[in-house]
């Protein structure tokens, strides 16, 4: 039995009508808590991540207000500790990683030409677990129980002796929630990409953004377990008196650093690689030509994925490791500049040889390239062990990490949202407002973070709540705080643009930018089932090379059926029925949430969690026993 090429009469209207019924969004409570539509889940994910971004941004503004002049009295030392810890932890675990995965969860099924992610219910579960983790961190912070040992919670500072109370336990369990969610998202992305691609989309035709998400997902799968292990050990040291990090009983504080950075360095690439996917997509669309060096781009992504795991020790140069080891990791840290450099040259070459159309998303990308080159430079500087010893724990590091994280990821992310907003919302964002946003963002960013390099060289340590006038750090800090206010304005402008788009924006066509990937071949916004017919792919740029492609027929349309293809060449293999909406993933997440939060106070939380999750899990997997005899197919 195999798929058959033919020429047939295809009744689009009838197919669409049947799909509308089969994939109809659930209403009421089920619609609110039970939806499994990847687009709805992803948009909730993105909106939640932005809420956390805004909250952490407010904390950043509070820090900048406090540091704006010497001996400010806005916040005291204890609150300041909580603020920078919650800011950093929120930005990394509740904003950056989730928002990137969420973009993938929205776009990947559309870009590979299928109807949903591979495991729709699991996907919904991942979102709810993430949301509970975020609520936990912020709930605790509002109750003055926010973690306060920095976003990497170094022991012994975070250990039971020096950090009594529950603040660090909140941090450790927040990690449990967010890593669980990240791992769920990663498995979804891997399996959707490998098994649900439209027929003909062999690996060498996969869009670069999808490649980027695939590499990212693999990195998540191998990096996140490190921090789950580490935070579990930390929680156990604090709760049941194990001695993993207790030096007196043979434990080891450096073990924490190794485990944390074995996750933490790849984490930076988990945030950055999706951003390169945005950049490649945007550059290609607005240069109006295929990206230069597609194979080199793919290989660079894969190389970055591997190299990202070889670098973690460069965060520990100040711990007095063996000299040879330090040299090795210095070299490896420099090596990773190569694949990144290759990508930058490919983008520039594409722009140079294309017929460039300057639009707001491209301006975000240009702001990214400029900023990232600077950030990369300071990165190569701190990658060298001798220099790092001088700059370790100063504001130089704060400057560097924001250059990479904001310049390298947030700029492309905002550009990507502007770019895909027409698809997501069905309306066009304001170009003028977009350009204004980029300009203010760029200026605000440089004003905020460039002076921090100098502050670091002048000796200002990070994580201090204030400083004396005699240090002379006042003027540059004031400048930085003004920049931060501008950054705040830019973010507000961005939000205003989105709000304006949703209310007033002009209706978007299917493919308003003239792009090449499959998500632009369906309506804006896409229907619940994404495509009336699964497309057949015959080139790397389906929308540029054959406007009226062959389509797939013969899938059942009375149930949620998708086409499974083989992992390498996307040859049609079998038909597969996806699960529909249900409350059980939500209930399972709630039950697990109660268990994990109880585990902050007593180890019995684990037992509570297992017992509570069992009933909803059974409900989740027990077949509903609906009639599955019908076999309505697309008319073919």
């Amino acid at each position: 039995m195999s798929a058959e090429l033919a020429v047939r009469d295809v009744d689009d209207a009838a197919t669409r009508a049947a799909l509308e019924v089969t994939w109809a969004p659930p209403r009421g409570v089920l619609g609110l808590l039970g939806t499994v539509n990847h687009k709805v889940v992803a948009i909730r994910y993105i909106v939640s991540a932005f809420v956390f971004f805004a909250l952490a941004g407010v904390l950043a503004l509070v820090m900048r207000a406090q540091l704006a002049y010497p001996e400010a009295r806005l916040v005291g030392p204890d609150l300041y500790n909580q603020i920078f810890t919650v800011h950093g932890s929120t930005m990394m675990f509740l904003f950056a990683v989730p928002v990137m995965e969420a973009m993938g969860l929205y776009l990947v099924p559309l870009m590979v030409g299928t109807r949903n992610v591979a495991f729709p219910r699991l996907n919904a579960f991942g979102f709810w677990i993430y949301l509970i983790g975020g609520a936990l961190l912020w709930g605790a912070f509002l109750l003055n129980a926010g973690p306060d040992a920095g976003w990497f919670a170094y022991v012994p500072l975070a250990g039971p002796d020096q950090a009594p109370g529950k603040r660090i336990d909140v941090w450790a369990q927040m990690i449990t929630f967010t890593e669980l969610a990240a791992l769920v998202g990663a498995v979804e992305l891997v399996v959707t990409t490998l098994k649900l691609r439209a027929p003909g989309m062999s690996l060498n035709r996969v869009p670069l953004f999808v490649w980027a998400m695939l590499v990212t997902a693999f990195m998540v799968i191998f990096a996140m377990p490190a921090i789950m292990v580490a935070s579990t050990m930390l929680a156990m040291d604090r709760l049941v008196d194990t001695h993993f990090f207790n030096v007196a009983e043979g434990g080891d504080a450096l073990l924490w650093q190794h485990l944390f950075w074995f996750f933490g360095h790849p984490e930076v690439y988990i945030i950055f690689i999706p951003a390169t996917g945005f950049v490649s997509t945007i550059v290609q669309t607005f240069a109006r030509r295929p990206i230069v060096g597609y194979p080199a781009m793919v290989l660079s992504l894969i190389a970055t994925g591997f190299l990202g795991f070889g670098l973690w020790v460069h965060h520990m140069f100040a711990t007095g490791l063996p000299k040879l080891g330090e040299s090795f990791f210095t070299a490896a840290s420099m090596l990773i500049a190569i694949p990144t450099g290759v990508q930058i040259f490919c983008w520039l070459a594409t722009l140079r040889s294309g017929r460039v159309l300057v639009r707001a998303p491209l301006l975000y990308v240009l702001a990214f390239v400029a900023t990232f080159v600077l950030g990369g430079l300071s990165g190569v500087m701190v990658a060298s062990a001798p220099l790092d010893l001088q700059l370790h724990d100063t504001f130089f590091v704060v400057a560097h990490l924001h250059y990479v994280l904001i310049g390298g990821s947030v700029f492309p992310l905002l550009g990507a949202l502007h770019y895909w907003l027409p698809k997501m919302s069905g309306r066009m964002p304001s170009e003028g407002l977009g350009r204004l946003t980029v300009a203010i963002l760029f200026v605000g960013f440089q004003l905020t973070f460039f002076p921090m390099h100098q502050l670091g060289l002048a000796g200002m340590p990070r994580r201090v709540y204030t400083y004396l006038p005699e240090t002379g750090w006042g003027p540059l800090n004031a400048l930085s705080s003004v920049g931060a206010a501008l950054l705040g304005v830019a973010v507000l402008l961005f939000v205003a643009n989105v709000a304006w788009t949703l209310r007033r924006g002009a209706r978007a066509e299917d493919d308003p930018w003239g792009a090449d990937t499959l998500e632009w071949s369906t309506t804006s916004p896409p229907p619940a089932y994404n495509f009336v017919h699964i497309p057949v792919v015959e080139s790397r740029h389906p929308l540029w090379t054959h406007p009226s492609p062959r389509v797939v027929t013969g899938l059942r349309i009375d149930v949620r059926e998708v086409l499974v293809t083989d992992a390498i060449d996307a040859v049609p293999d079998h038909r597969h029925m996806l699960d529909g909406p249900t409350l059980y993933p939500f209930l399972t997440a709630m039950a697990a949430g109660i268990g994990i939060i109880t585990a902050i106070f007593t180890p019995w939380g684990i037992t509570v969690g297992v017992v509570l999750t069992l009933p909803p899990l059974i409900g989740w997997f027990w077949p509903a026993g609906e009639a599955i005899a019908g076999t309505t197919r697309e008319k073919a």
Partner: protein, 200 residues
């Protein structure tokens, strides 16, 4: 409208092995749990550097009986699981019930043995970092056994009396894949927790 199509109606509605999405999903789970176990093992070896002797002075090395019995038991359990796996791929209900039932018995027996293994560690988790490390390693593997027991029993119940659909045979099939993983990782955990302390 007449147009060129790719008609997939003749493709099967079900498949096994690496052709399916769920197989890849379970492989992802195995990768995640494998990575977590490997990192924990490396952490244990790292902590070992802090000790003159492993186990530390005053702690006897762990007893071998229960753990070694479990090596045998887990190895044997592969057989009924494999039979269930094959029967599932041929979509034959009764053989699946029998073989999966036997596998469940094995699973519960390994869990009972696990209780004796913990006792045979000859220390508590809060004695020293050695104790913490061996309890965590053994506990992680025990957690897999518990999860698998729940899964096996539920699957069995489903095959016996649930409204059985063809896709549930695929579930039995990938459940076996996960079980093979649990059996396989027991070997390094056994070596690290029970044998290695006798070598130093």
């Amino acid at each position: 409208m007449r147009r060129p199509v790719l008609d997939v109606s003749a493709l099967p509605p079900i498949a096994y092995g690496s052709r399916t999405t769920i197989w890849w999903g379970v492989l992802g789970l195995i990768a995640i749990e494998g990575a977590a176990l490997a990192l924990t093992a490396v952490a244990a070896l790292y902590l070992r550097q802090n000790f003159m002797t492993w186990p530390p002075y005053g702690t006897p090395p762990p007893g071998l009986a229960a753990a070694t019995a479990n090596v045998v038991l887990l190895a044997l359990s592969v057989w009924p699981m494999y039979v269930a796996d094959r029967a599932a791929q041929r979509e034959r209900r009764l053989p699946v019930i029998i073989a999966l039932g036997i596998a469940c018995v094995f699973n519960v027996a390994t869990l009972a043995l696990r209780g004796f293994e913990f006792a045979a560690l000859n220390c508590w988790w809060d004695d020293h970092a050695y104790g913490s490390a061996v309890w965590l390693l053994l506990g992680m593997h025990a957690a897999h056994l518990v999860a698998s027991a729940i899964e096996n029993v539920l699957l069995l119940a489903l095959v016996v009396k649930g409204p059985l659909e063809r896709k549930h045979f695929v579930d039995v099939h990938v459940n076996a894949l996960y079980w093979y993983f649990i059996v396989a990782v027991w070997v390094p955990v056994y070596v690290l927790v029970f044998l290695a302390p006798r070598w130093s």
